[in-house]
Assembly symmetry: C2
Homo-oligomer: 356 residues x 2
């Protein structure tokens, strides 16, 4: 197989993208010119979102396979388009590659990327590839569309609206803790073996925890929920995807909508595995659900009058209500105590993460 | 002034973008939600381009001021939209920042970015900001539009078409050589002074070379040329911007259009300073013009029948003709010799640049 250096930038892009067939009517021209060319009908608004993912900050290639990373990199962007009530249509993919990556690595990454795009009807229409001095840099931009006037913003929540979340929360965070623990075990054994990996070293034990790993490594953007809301004629008053943790996202909606909220701990949806793992790690599972990120579930508010319709949607839970701003942002615990919600979501600019 | 760490991701983005006013009718919602929301009229096609710029690979902060870097980062993307015959309307800006960058640094970068955007009527509508383990990472996506059916691709050149370029070539490359030379001088002096910068050290001498530095540090995308072509009713048959060097771009157009070309050395537009500097460096100025990148001029082809109109455009030069594919891609030198053009443009994935 040729090396990336032999192929060069244009050769690599060609190799990775030449078999792509554009699926969307709105994709006129994909990879291969100065720009991609798109055409959206008059009655649609165009949605644009972008994410920058850096090795060592957002992902750890010691335990994340490149195919999963490709899948997840696409998915986190698609999720932002769904979070506006829209449908993702195109992505551009920019990669910075250090020398240790092989052509096969990039094929793996693209396999994951394409798997995600195919499942969601999205075209890869462009990007940029370059060398990097330090590991892998991924920048993805996703373009989508939504019916004119139907984009769901963060600022439309009204007092008495019901607060809903899809799926369950905290599982992706627990998956991450599990992977981090096994990484430490691995390096300890490696140290004991004076740096040589041997067959005697214990294999990581993930039995019974597959769901948590899947939630961390292979999250799924909630297209299904958007389609179901549309089928039922529900137009949420506000919506976000939960990437930084429920607390953080709730505070965004409340701040932008100038409201308070009242959320009930007992209604926050949890998976059994998340609870079991939290217990094993001696962690508070509600804290994990509130502050653990990367679930990519949808958080949204609907008018009280939509309550019956919401109950028809499997996998959507009502967790509380929007209140007046002066009532604060309140979590009601199982034992009836009330706490002010705080954003302890992951701060990608915090000192702790920033170790240059 | 607050630090970036104190502000956090959302605070930093807010600080840098809160005074932005959207100028384009097509920009419905900018920074501050899961996606930007745009609305393009039915009779326009949407153009999307993206570039990833990495410290140490694409720019060197020892001699590039952050304000210039912001300006140039925007400009290289706007240039790609002009190269389709379109008008840029929106950009998203993602930044990865290592700890050494201060809030003031980011304000400088944004000042440059906004200067470029204001001059070209472009709105900053979104982005992503995160920490980086290693220097500055910049990813910009630009969205623009063009009249339906009027996007200018690389594949429309026809034999007998005239090949045109705007401005002059090789100056940005010469500017880079100049900066690199002064950097070496600076580090030599620093070494002699045992690492201490002193006032006795010679100041870099750029007198009479300001134009070359400007071309390297503050390139200008050729909006004016696109507007002039439109005024004169000229629809080029193919177009690209010259980012990797004239040779490389000519080969792209010929390959995609299935044609050859015949370009005359004597017609390649050069600035006096470029020629003088090449002589001082003992370099062949034509080689610099053919293979030096980053001029961000436009390369385009027009039917022979547009010759009179083209002559009316100041600052556009006819450098040769499109030929049949089997006639090859030929450079005719001043002394009448013929050479096959080769792409020696900058390969961002070459071994040389890839030093991890």
């Amino acid at each position: 197989m040729a090396t990336i250096q032999e192929l060069g930038e244009f050769g690599l892009i060609k190799h990775l993208t030449e078999s792509i067939e554009l699926k969307n009517e709105s994709s006129l021209k994909g990879v291969g010119d100065d720009c991609a060319v798109l055409a959206y009908p008059q009655d649609r608004e165009v949605l644009v979102t972008t994410d920058l993912l850096l090795e060592g900050v957002h992902f750890d290639l010691t335990y994340v396979p490149l195919k999963h990373l490709g899948y997840k990199s696409a998915m986190v962007n698609l999720s932002d388009v769904y979070a506006m009530g829209g449908m993702p249509r195109q992505i551009t993919v920019s990669l910075g590659l250090s020398k240790r990556f092989t052509l096969e690595d990039m094929e793996q990454f693209y396999d994951g990327l394409r798997l995600a795009c195919d499942a969601h009807g999205v075209d890869i229409v462009g990007g940029d590839t370059t060398s990097s001095m330090t590991g892998l840099t991924i920048s993805i931009t996703c373009i989508g569309d939504v019916e004119k006037g139907k984009a769901i913003y963060r600022n439309g929540a009204k007092p008495t609206d019901i607060i809903c979340v899809s799926g369950n929360l905290g599982a992706a965070y627990m998956g991450l803790q599990l992977l981090e623990r096994e990484k430490i075990v691995y390096y300890q054994q490696l140290k004991e073996n004076k740096g040589n990996a041997t067959l005697e070293m214990a294999e990581p034990d993930f039995a019974g925890r597959e769901y948590l790993l899947q939630r961390q490594l292979r999250p799924e953007a909630r297209r299904d929920v958007i389609l179901r809301l549309r089928e039922l004629g529900i137009q949420p008053t506000s919506m976000m995807d939960i990437s930084d943790g429920l607390s953080s996202e709730l505070l965004h909606i409340c701040t932008d909508s100038h409201t308070g909220c009242r959320v009930y701990e007992e209604h926050i949806p949890l998976d059994y595995e998340t609870a079991a793992q939290a217990e094993e790690f001696n962690m508070n599972v509600t804290t994990c659900a509130l502050n653990g990120g990367e679930d990519y579930e949808l958080l949204f508010t609907v008018p009280m009058s939509d309550k019956d319709k919401i109950e028809k949607i499997e996998d959507v839970t009502m967790i509380g209500f929007v209140t007046n701003e002066d009532e604060g942002k309140v979590l009601v615990t199982r034992d009836g105590n009330e706490f002010q919600l705080k954003a302890q979501g992951w701060n990608p600019l915090s000192e702790e993460k920033d170790k240059e």
